[in-house]
């Protein structure tokens, strides 16, 4: 396990890039939970940490818009691919397009990642 930061160093709704050895990851906080992904978009390789941690328009009836999943979607800074921070899977093609997700552990005030 590798220490990343103290809990309070990353507020809910924030994200930040870390170098863990030779691996660059992006750590995201949703409420009291932390999630870590490889910081590389599975599309063209942009750093996801440069994107937006947000929600999105979730599946809806034709012609209607419904916002949801606030704080669970990391949107790539280039083509706008939406990545589910809890799984690393792309929302539009979860079976085939994904980025590696790493296990995050909170130990006291410390946030650690297993890479």
């Amino acid at each position: 396990m590798t220490f990343l930061c103290k809990r309070d160093e990353l507020a809910p709704g924030e994200k930040r890039a870390f170098d863990v050895g030779r691996v660059r990851i992006v750590l995201c906080r949703r409420g009291d939970d932390f999630f870590a992904l490889r910081d590389v978009c599975p599309h063209h390789g942009a750093n996801l940490s440069m994107g937006v941690l947000t929600g999105t328009n979730v599946e809806s009836e034709v012609g209607e818009y419904r916002y949801g999943r606030d704080g669970e979607v990391l949107r790539c800074p280039r083509h706008g691919w939406e990545i589910d921070i809890t799984t690393g899977r792309a929302l539009h093609d979860p079976e085939h397009r994904r980025v590696k997700a790493y296990r995050v552990v909170q130990r006291g005030d410390d946030v650690l990642v297993e890479v």
């Binding site: 999105t56 328009n57 809806s60 034709v62 012609g63 419904r66 093609d93």
Partner: protein, 361 residues
């Protein structure tokens, strides 16, 4: 010499002829005869604004008196159905697409109803191989739906006949829902056929008005691209899972590129169309078919196989002749020898059989 095919053929684009729009007069309620006056008749329905250098009909079916074989069901039966072994000929009409171009929509709806009665009496009664398409005035969607309900149960009627481009609003607009609902309710397909950019159906292209017929013929494919994207992105197929459509006379070589573009855009812009549950290309493969005429003719015929491979399915193409028009495709010459027998059979018959639910041969 016409070589008779060795297998059944479905021809998905046949234009039954009409000597004059006045043939519809006996089928119209009295209240509409006011428009059959000397001044109006020559402009009925909205006219094709483009002139063809040779005329739109094959010269070899035109008679000295100005009539042509397509105006006579018995001649079409002999010249097309019997000659080529065509078991199902989808009749998509003359004039009918321009009904949707008429600003006087209620009269247009009455004309469409008259056309359908004429079609049933004059054509569908002659031979069960003639399959009918419901004429509608799509600018009046509720009247169109009522008409689909009125005649859609006829055993030889297989689809609803609509023009591409649409009347003013794109086909994905909610305004047209009653038409899709009625088609599904009656178990009918939708045939979109190229239409002259007349009346409500103008302008000819997003670049304005081409100045040659040659350009107009190329623009047709662009109209279909725009129309297909509208149907997919606005969720018509997501909203109506049973709706099936065929695009006639707009080509198909552009379809792989359109699928790729839409799928790529979906990755980036999914939240704008959150009602799409699957990649846009999936909806196209599940809901859309393409007529082959005018056949794509790459310099190396083998490239046709590459295009079909790129479509991701060999079930999307339906053979069509466009009889009696000038760019008629005969089954033999239109399908190059490089097409394997199984694929040829699918294009000529099986794909249409499955799409329309025709009886097995």
């Amino acid at each position: 010499m016409i070589e008779k095919a060795r297998q059944p053929i479905a021809d998905c684009d046949v234009h039954e002829g009409m000597r004059s729009i006045t043939e519809l007069k006996p089928y119209l309620p009295s209240e509409w005869l006011m428009y059959f006056n000397r001044d109006s008749l020559g402009r009925l329905p909205a006219k094709h604004p483009y002139l063809h250098p040779q005329g739109g009909t094959r010269l070899d079916v035109i008679h000295p008196d100005g009539t042509s074989d397509d105006m006579f069901p018995e001649r079409v039966r002999e010249q097309l159905l019997d000659a080529y072994g065509i078991e199902a000929a989808m009749l998509v009409g003359t004039y009918v697409h321009q009904f949707t171009a008429m600003p006087q929509g209620k009269f247009a709806a009455a004309l469409a109803a008259a056309y359908n009665d004429w079609l049933i009496e004059r054509w569908l009664a002659v031979d069960t191989r003639f399959k009918g398409s419901v004429a509608v005035a799509a600018q009046e969607p509720r009247l169109a739906a009522r008409e689909i309900d009125r005649v859609g149960g006829h055993p030889s009627i297989v689809q609803v006949n609509l023009p591409m481009p649409p009347p003013q609003l794109p086909w994905g607009d909610e305004k047209f829902y009653p038409i899709w609902e009625a088609a599904v309710r009656n178990g009918l397909r939708i045939a979109f056929h190229v239409s002259p950019p007349a009346g409500l159906l103008g302008a000819a292209s997003v670049n304005g008005w081409p100045t040659t017929y040659m350009e107009l013929r190329g623009v047709y494919g662009l109209q279909f691209q725009a129309g297909l994207m509208s149907l997919v992105c606005n969720g018509v197929f997501a909203r109506f899972p049973e709706l099936k459509v065929v695009l006639l006379e707009g080509g198909f070589s552009w379809v792989p590129g359109l699928m790729w573009k839409l799928d790529q855009s979906w990755g980036a812009l999914r939240r704008e169309v959150p009602w799409l549950r699957r990649p846009p290309s999936d909806y196209i493969r599940d809901h859309v078919r393409f007529g082959t005429q005018p056949m794509e003719e790459p310099p190396d015929p083998k490239q046709l196989l590459q295009i079909i491979d790129m479509l991701g399915s060999d079930e999307l193409l339906l053979f069509a002749t466009d009889y009696p028009h000038w760019d008629f495709d005969a089954p033999g010459p239109a399908l190059p020898a490089v097409l394997p027998a199984t694929l040829r059979r699918k294009i000529l018959w099986e794909n249409a059989r499955d799409f329309y639910g025709l009886p097995a041969e």
